[in-house]
């Protein structure tokens, strides 16, 4: 993956607008957070292959980025994205990692379902 270039990501988001797309959205601090730090507690959520159609999307930010997808009914939102790629299957893959390379947030949009 590469560091996010806002114009290019905006272009990729626009390309996927007004289509039925599959979304993987995830955030996590890991299953061991509270094991290694008693002041922490584990949080995480993911949704895989949510089928949505957004009419408009925007990426905002400078070093880390936020993305909002506006749907007829509701929103998809992710914060903390720093890296992106369009993979060989044409899927828009974005993520944010901590200093050790551990994933903290992921937002992925595809015209075909992600593998289970």
């Amino acid at each position: 993956m590469e560091m996010i270039q806002i114009d290019k990501v905006q272009e990729a988001l626009d390309h996927l607008a007004n289509k039925d797309v599959y979304v993987h959205l995830e955030t996590t601090n890991g299953a061991y957070a509270s094991h290694f730090n008693s002041n922490a507690y584990n949080v995480g959520a993911f949704i895989r292959n949510a089928k949505v159609r957004y009419k408009h999307a925007k990426i905002v930010g400078s070093e880390t980025f936020r993305i909002g997808l506006k749907m007829d009914h509701g929103w998809v939102y992710a914060e903390g994205l720093t890296q992106w790629e369009v993979d060989d299957k044409g899927r828009l893959i974005m993520a944010g990692h901590d200093a050790e390379g551990r994933l903290m947030v992921a937002l992925e949009i595809s015209e075909t379902p992600f593998e289970n």
């Binding site: 299953a31 893959i93 050790e100 390379g101 551990r102 994933l103 992925e108 992600f114």
Partner: protein, 224 residues
Amino acid sequence: MDQHQHVAIILPHPDDEAFGCSGTILQFREKNIPVTYLCGTLGEMGRNMGNPTFANRETLSEFRKKELQDACEALDIDLQMLGYRDKTLEFEDRDEVASHLKGILDDIQPSLVITFYPGHAVHPDHDAMGAAAIEAVRRFDEENRPEVWAKAISHNRREVLGEPDIVKDVADYFDGKMKAIEAHRSQAEGMMSQFRKSPELQELNSEGQKLLRYEEFYKWDFTK
């Protein structure tokens, strides 16, 4: 341990075997005892993407599958991948997972099963895999039932469970163990390469080193 004919390892993630029991595995292999690893998932939802990152959420499972195969080759053990998805094992039907495992155990007829201690294994997948594995073994007739060694990693394991029944000092197998850990490159790379190269860090990490050097297990009591 010489009496064991075949050992089955049942753990959910690629690298659980390397960190948790690879010294013990190497000891069995040295005695030519066959070992089969039934690995629950491909660690698809792992957080470590390499440092600098070389995997993403969609490619991670391919990397981890290859790493798992490499680790099993380093340990000289057979591998069966069970095909569940990382982070979802606790939501599967436990009876179905147990039946799946029982079918495989019927084929390989192990005399020993190593798995996680349910409720003391910290990660929900660990607890769920351990519970399903123990349920599968419970379904054997008593006379054919393999022994179960359960691995507990909770902070309070000694308070609640007492001293482990089996403590293996795997210092003699440490190089082999490190090779198995390092095979899981996406997971181990950052920390372990530093750990291996830096004597100071090794000193600092003496607690961590102790955890790697002594592999502890509780024998599961099926009469309880």
